[in-house]
Each structure stands twice: as C-alpha cells, then as structure tokens.
Symmetry: C2
Subunit: 590 residues, 2 copies
C-alpha cells in the first residue's frame, strides 16, 4: 500500500497517467537476476510472468493460467486487481489502457524491461489517442531502497575442448552473415547469444550459466559490454580474439555514436530504451527471422554434438539411478521434494555438472495435471499407486539436458494406461519421423499429437522446443509447435525436445520427453537422432494398442539403453535395467 | 521473328528497355480467355505458365519444370532462349533484369496482367537502379491483328436451390466484415469471388464457370462491372438485390472517383493498373490474409454442402462405371484419350453436368511420373500391366469434383505395390486425422506424407488444395501443404483434397485423391468428412504393411461405397462393386 501511494505520487509529479511494471530484464532473459524483480517487489506476486499497470484510481496485475491460483493468494490484502489473461471478457493490457487513458495521456515505464515488438503492439492499439510514452522512467528505483545489486560473481571461459570453434572463428562467421544481410552494425542483447559467441559462461542468473552483457559488432570492431571484473582472468584472451571490452553500462554511448549505417537488432529481444537510442540517420533492420547468432548457435557443430551426447549419457545414468531408487524404495516414505533432492545428489556425482537447467518438476497424482507445477516445501507424499511425473534437466559444461518420464508407482486405471500409451505412440512417431529439408518444426507437431487427438483429447502446449549448449534449456529460434509464430527451417544439428503429453485436471498428468538432434538422412531428407536413454515405464503401456513397428522401437530403445549406459552402471544397476528388455522366450517385456 | 522485330521497334519508339509479356488475365484467373493469351501468340509456347522478357539484344522465356520439354520443342527455330526456373544457375526474371537493365532504364508491360505482389517483388530487386515502369503499355495489342475478342456468351443465374444464400444476404455479410476491418471500399477482382457473391455462373473460360467482371463495394453501394449483354436476362434481379450494373470497362473511372476513404484490395490478385489508379488520398489496406470473399466462400454453408455431397455421389458413380468398363475391356484396345472420352460420355448422363473442372489426366505407365501430364492426340495405348493414373473432375451446378485413382491394369512389381501402399497409408491417415480448432492446413501435410517419407521417397507438391462450389477446382485461401505461404485456419465447411502421391521418373506415378470437408467433432476439435466414394484398387495393396485400423478403414470405406452408390447403379454394376468388399469367410478382399 505504501509503495502504491508513493508510486502514484511520483506519477503525478512526472505527469504519468499509467505506469507499467514489466517482469523482464534488459535482455529478455527467461530467468532474471534479483535486481530486475521489481514487479515481484512491488506486488508481492512471485510468479515468473506478470505485469502490473498502475493508474491513479486502479491497479491491476495481468498473468497467465499457470499462475491464477498463486497470484490470487499472493494478492490477498492488496489493492491490486487480478486480470486472468485468456479468460473470457478479460481485456488485454493494451485494450485496458486504450479504454482508461485520457486522450493525450502519458504512459511511463522502464524502457529496459519491454521489447520493441511488445511496445509496437501497445503503440498500435493506442494509435489515434495522442498518447506519449515516457520510457526512461524507472520510478521504482526511487522507492526501492534495498534493491539488490546486479550480480557480480566471476564469469569463466567455456574451454576449447567444450566450445569447439574459437570466439575469433565465430566472430568471422557472424561477420560473413552480416555482409550477406547488408548489416553494418549488429546489436546483440540476448545473454546466451553473447555467451556462445565469446565462449564464456557465468553465474548471474539461476539455471542458465550466462553473464549480463551486450555486444555491438561492426565489420572491423567487436565491442563487448560487461562487468570487467567478471572477465578479468581471461580478458586478454578475448582481446586477442578481436573483442574490445567495455563496462556494462557503456553501450548506450556507443549506440549514439553510430552514424549513417545499417543497424540490425532483434525486435523480439531488444529493449525499447536501446532500440530508440539508435540515431535517426541509421537504417534500421529488424526482421527477427534473420537474427544471426540464434541461427548459428541453434545448429550444433559436430564438436558440440560429441560433447552433448556425452552429457546426455551422464544425465541418463542419473535418471536410471533415480528410477531404480524409486522402484526399490517404499514410496510412502518419499515426497516430491525428496525426489528433487535425490536428483541433485545423483548429478553431483557426474563430471562437469554445474546446476539444474530448470526447477525440477516432481509432480505426484493430480499435481501433474498442472503442466508447470512446482511443489512448495516437501510437496505431496508419494503413494504406491498412480503416476509420478518427473521433468528434469541439468547444466553440464558439455551440454544442457531435459528429460521427462512418467512412472506408475502402483495400480493405474485403464484410462491412464490408454492415455500413457497414446502419448508414447506420439513420442515414438516423432522420434522416427523423416522430413524433407526446408521443413519448419511447425509441420511436425501434428505427428506427435495425433494419437492423443485420436482419443479426442489434446495437450495445450507445443510438442518441442530447442535446447542450448550449456545455455538456456529453452532456446530458439526453432520449435515444434502448432503455432505459426516460428517459421525457422529445421537444419542438421538443431536440438529439439519431443514431449507429447496429456493432462486430466484433478486426476493425473502424463508426459514423455526425450531430446533429439536433427540429422541428414540423405541429400534431400532429414531425420532425428535420439540423445536421451532412460527406460520408459512399460507397466503403463497397453501393448495391444501398439503396432509391430512401435513394439520394435521400444525393444530397440531399451536394448540400446542397456548397452550404451552399461559402462557407467554397477552390476546391480545393469541387472535392474534388464527389466526393460524384451524377452524372446516369453514374448513379453519385463 | 517478325513479331519480335516489330515489338523491338515499338519498344524503341516508347523508350522501353525491357518489355515483359505475362500469362495472366486482369483477374489472376487460373484459366484465361483467348483474348489474354498474348504470351502464347507471341512465343508459340502454349503451356499455362510462362513469361517472356524482351530486350533489344536478347529474348527469354521463363517457365517451370512441368513445361521444360514442351517449351524446348515449341521454341525450336525461334530466337527465344528458354530459362528453366528452379534449375541451378538460372536467374529469376527480376535478377535477370537487374543485371541487364541500364541504370535509369524503363520496363514496360501490360499492367493488367501482373499482380501488385509480383510487381512489388520486381521493384524491390530493382531498387537503387533508378528504373521507371511503364505499365500501361499493351504493345502486343498494336501488333496482334487477329486478337480474339473478349468472350460474349451469356451468364446464367446460379439458382436459389443451388446457391443457398441470396446475393443480397451475401452482400450484407460482406459489409459486416468490411466494418470489422474498417474497409470503406472493397475492390473485388477474382472472378470466382464475384460469381459466388452474385450467384451467377458463365462460360467465359474453360473449366471454371465464371464471368469476366469486377465489383466495387462500399457501405451503401455495390457496383458490378460486367458485359451487360451477358446478364440481360436477370439484371433486374441483381438490381433488386442491391447491385448497380456497369459495363466491364467502366471500373477505372469509378476507382478514380474514390475520395479520402480506406480501400481494400488483395495484392496477390489485383493487377497493377487497377491498384495504381487508386487516388493517393485513400488509405490502402492490402493484407491478403483478410480478403473477405475468399474466406466466406471457402467455408461452405450447410445448403451448399448438401448439394456438394450429391454432386460427389454423381461423380463417384461416373468413376465406378469407368473403372468397371476398364476392368472389363481389353485394355490393349484403349488409349489415354479413349479413357478421357469415356469419362465425358458417362458424365453427360448425370444431372446438372456442365463441363470438366480441368483437363482430365489419364496417364499410363511412365507418363504418370509427370504430375501434370496431359496426353496429345490419342496418347499412349494401354497394356494389361502397370499403373494407369486417372485424375479427373467435373463441374455440376451442385458442385465441383476432383478425384484421382491409380489402377493396376495387370502385373505390377513389388516396389510399385510398396509405393502404392505407402501412398494409401498417408491418404487414410489424413482422412482419419483429428485436429484442434485454429490449426492451419500446413500442420496436416506431414500426416499424409509420412508413410511415403518413411521409404525415403517424397512427392514434390502439396497434399491438398481447397475446391470451389461450381467454381474453381483449385480454390484458396487454405491448403494442406508444407509451404508456409498460406496461414489460413481450417474451419468447418472448408473442402480440401487429400492427394498424397509418388512419382518414379521414367517408370510410374501413383496418386490417390478424395475430397474431404472440415467438420466439427466437438467444441474444441475438428475432423474430416469424406465426400468421394470410389473403390481403391486393392490388387495394388500390400496388406501386410497395413495396421488393423487401416484395414478396417478400407473395409468400411468400400462397404459404405457399395451402400451409398447402390441406388444409382445397375445390378451388374453393384455386383462388380462387391469385389471391393471384405469377405469374412476368407478373411480377404476381392
């Protein structure tokens, strides 16, 4: 309440009619440092997505379906009204503003925390209302006395044995592409793009080993803006590779010095304050589809893939050990949280492990029906019945992993078995798919989704996302989704997750996820190579619903899993894994 | 040669450095009246697609893979060089022009025969070359002494029992949509859009029963530009429905009178001459995705669908009779042409038959490996072996049909059987597909293509196209294709063809095509209803490769075909059709 009164006072002083508090950092990162959590500080709502709009007589928080319940609870006692995005009759922020703002009104916000694409959308809706925008107004900074500082922990080199190409070589390729697209200055804001280019990693945010930084690349110069203390140990190496280092906050001055050249920025990632500071005599190129670094880093090199295969073997071993532990435990003594803790314990035994790549989802029973569930405290206690869904991944120096398995802890219903089998059929179909070069991931989603749809059910998320290399677990620009937003052609070396699913609200959730890499089958066709080797719970499969090809796939998959993981398992673990082998003598699994 | 010399003389007089001869009419029609066939008259090349570019020292014809052989033959003895589009190192026209034209040069063409989209593409490539465009230059008209006149045959009303909604009601809906999109004047150029809106049909071009016409619709007025003689018989009715009739050539004057309003035209259909004549004080709206009439007419009404189902029954009867005739003939006495002739003979027996909806493809053996083959003269003589591919459709007053069947005339190889079976598996999968509302046809193509791809083969065309209602057999805006060009969501009532295929150059071609209509399965999901009932040649199927579901589909399909066609068949025909029924006693078909 105090914060609200103080903010409204500031708004009055600056003639701001509406003040918007976004959740982004200045780089559109998926995970942000505490310094950027102003919306959380202001509203008390801790979800990852949410926007607050403050007027003199109203204040609202917009968030999506993942967070309705949490936001309702966390807003209790505040004046902030919850706007449930996507629900009928709930206005979008832009339409709310259009209705509430007076003609000629002023909208204020911290221009570092909204992308040009999102800003353009608001502007378009408010056109004809004579609105002015004050985007250099970090009003909360004036109120937030104990605001956390920007992170300061040191960065480290992603060494040549992991990185493959040197930073100098990557820079050369970037410049080649710049010439193709007639880009004279390339503004890079995404933290993972910069980390990949420079072959550095860091500890600035949770789950993604990146460092707060920018880059501005021209034909002859490559400027990097970063806390110089973080890179002290290897700044010489970066300089010899062709980079000029500056302090993090010096980018705006460099942008203002651009003169009469063509400047590229990705409008879906670049914040308003930066984009608007480009001098007007420059030619703006801002087609998000041609952003150079995302496309380069998405198609993993053979050197990267060699490492990535190894990281996936390590994490497959972790999950095999976890599943064995679960299988042999009295699950009634376990909670969702103890499953997550066990995973960290097991991962710490693996070489080059850094941290988890996202907050592990261990969701028991009805909890798994919420696709983005995360337990609080100990979470639910497990019972020897129903499904446990585990979605987990790790950051290793040699790769980023992401795996989901759904485990039958005991008795399951016939419908659960049917649903599990349909999800599995979709998962297998996508694993085996063959597609022509030039195809967009968009065209593959229905292959994985079709078996579930045949039962008149559906899952309301995409089937797959790209994955970084010791970087973000959700990495663009490609995906496998029904949405038309992404039009990136799949090319050899791209990683994608394969995660069809099914959620029955209040009952259970099922998801089966491997990670695949796009490979050339021949000069015209592409296919997938599977990277994840963890057994699939055959107790939950209705084999009568599988075709012979699908049964063969399962047999081969588990046979290969046993073989490929054997060198990393104890005899006892190997014996346990034999459970998933097809037995010729009985004609059955297990 | 004479024509070329004369044209170059005219070009010199008008200071035109490059003159382009396109193949379109002024409405971007698929089939055009002879009046518009200036490229054919000039070059001697009779294919449906091709563009001639004339310079003082060079002249070229650009055409696509369907026509390479034909064009080579037809250009023999002329100075015109063939540019095989899509082949390596063959420049596009725009790049050719960019290379050859002097700075500040002039490009001339008949601006009625190129769309704004295509023109914009050329302009973009030639930007920075200071090129001027002279788009009101129908130079060939000055040379072409015996140019055919525009067609004059009368139009006719598409009567209420066929049309469903009245023209007045359709006009009301169009105006509602115009308001939604803030369109004050809607320029309609596509002949099928106008025919559908006015509930008229005609005989101006082959295969598509349309009438040369334009419309210009505002909130209070609906102007139609058409040869008034053609509509004499029912002009009163059109007037009472709210339309004002003008002569065909009076549109430009009306466009010039537009004043200070928002004008919509579809840039992919509207020619340069019209689009450029819109006064500059008007606001241009030209997003092809919101074109109102294509979307309205694509989603067939229940009244239209009732008629369409009937038309498909009639044409299914025709094809059953044809297949029986083939089965019982000594095929060595038949040619590709006699198959086409037989189809016309059979169709003439059907009520409300107008004409074929395209030039029937009857392609024997290796001829079928050319997807767009059409025989000349008698065509190939059939033999009792290998495949005969028949792709054929008709215009009935109650519907437009399109069906393909591939028939084994005798012995076929194991590979042919495998390929036929894979095409069939894809065809069945698309027939049975279930998909969420909001999905684009783009996301369904891979479902039909996947079985063929699994054999490491592919077909290089889309899987399906929309189909008109007693209108064009290829009707947008939707399609089922891997190409991203179309982003139209499939909605209930849309027709699509389902035609996976496989072509082995020099050997054989396989295609199996039914037409489907999008239907609601429930409030969230869509599925397809099948409209085409013609037996599939089970002699070409390898049943070992089919799943139980696929076998059941075939059994059901042929059972339903027998039942639904029975009222229209003789006893002898019904007995013949029993061949395709699954026999419980033997566990086999036939």
């Amino acid at each position: 309440m105090e914060k609200l009164i103080a903010l409204r006072e500031l708004m009055k002083n600056r003639n701001i009619d509406a003040y918007i508090i976004f959740s982004n950092d200045a780089h559109s990162s998926e995970y942000v440092a505490d310094y950027w959590k102003s919306r959380e500080w202001f509203s008390g709502f801790t979800g990852s997505a949410g926007t607050v709009v403050v007027l003199q007589d109203q204040v609202g928080l917009w968030t999506d379906g993942r967070y309705f319940i949490q936001a309702e609870n966390q807003l209790i006692g505040s004046e902030i009204k919850l706007f449930k995005m996507g629900e009928p009759n709930i206005p979008k922020i832009k339409d709310f503003l259009s209705e509430k703002l007076p003609h000629g009104g002023c909208v204020g916000f911290d221009g570092r925390t909204i992308t040009m694409s999102d800003f353009d959308e608001i502007k378009e809706t408010l056109t004809n209302k004579g609105i002015s925008y004050s985007y250099n107004e970090d009003l909360l900074n004036e109120l937030w006395e104990e605001r956390p500082l920007m992170p300061t922990s040191p960065a480290f080199e992603h060494e040549p044995c992991f990185a493959g190409l040197s930073a100098a070589e990557k820079l050369r390729i970037v410049r080649e592409k710049m010439e193709t697209h007639k880009i004279e200055a390339y503004l890079v804001v995404a933290l993972d793009d910069i980390a990949w280019l420079l072959n550095i990693r860091g500890n600035d945010v949770l789950y993604t080993p990146v460092v707060y930084s920018y880059a501005l690349i021209t034909k002859n110069e490559a400027h990097v803006f970063i806390d110089l203390n973080k890179v002290e140990d290897f700044s010489c190496k970066l300089k010899t590779q062709g980079f000029v280092l500056h302090n993090y906050n010096e980018l705006p001055a460099h942008i203002k010095n651009l003169n009469n050249c063509s400047v590229y920025f990705n409008p879906k990632k670049t914040n308003v304050l930066l984009a608007e500071s480009i001098p007007s005599n420059c030619k703006i190129l801002d087609d998000h589809k041609i952003d150079i670094l995302p496309l380069l880093k998405a198609a993993k090199s053979e050197a990267e893939l060699k490492n990535i295969r190894n990281a996936y073997l390590k994490d497959s071993v972790v999950i095999v050990k976890l599943l064995k532990w679960l299988d042999e435990s009295d699950v009634s003594t376990l909670t969702e949280d103890s499953v997550c803790a066990k995973l960290i314990e097991l991962r710490k035994e693996q070489k080059h492990y850094l941290e988890n790549s996202f907050n592990t989802i261990a969701a028991y029973g009805a909890n798994a029906a919420m696709a983005h569930y995360h337990h609080e405290g100990e979470g639910a206690t497990l019972r020897p019945e129903g499904f446990l869904l585990i979605d987990t991944g790790a950051q290793y120096l040699d790769g980023t992993t992401d795996t989901t398995r759904t485990i039958a802890l005991g008795k399951i219903s016939e419908e659960m078995k049917l649903d599990f089998t349909m999800v599995l059929k979709g998962h297998i179909a996508l694993n085996k798919v063959i597609f022509p070069k030039g195809a967009i991931g968009h065209t593959l989603d229905m292959i994985a989704r079709q078996p579930v749809l045949q039962t008149k059910k559906n899952y309301l998320h995409g089937t797959g996302h790209g994955i970084g290399y010791c970087l973000s677990v959700h990495e663009g620009p490609h995906s496998i989704s029904l949405s038309i937003k992404d039009t990136t052609e799949l090319v050899s070396g791209m990683l994608v997750s394969n995660e069809p699913a099914l959620y029955e609200a209040g009952l259970y959730g099922i998801r089966t996820e491997n990670v695949l890499v796009v490979r050339e089958l021949n000069d015209k066709l592409l296919c997938f190579e599977n990277l994840t080797f963890c057994p699939i719970d055959l107790r939950a499969v209705d084999f009568a619903l599988l075709t012979n090809e699908e049964k063969e796939y399962l047999e081969e998959y588990h046979k290969k899993t046993c073989e490929i993981l054997a060198p990393f398992l104890s005899d006892e673990e190997k014996t346990w894994l034999q459970k998933f082998k097809f037995k010729e003598e009985t004609g059955k699994f297990s």
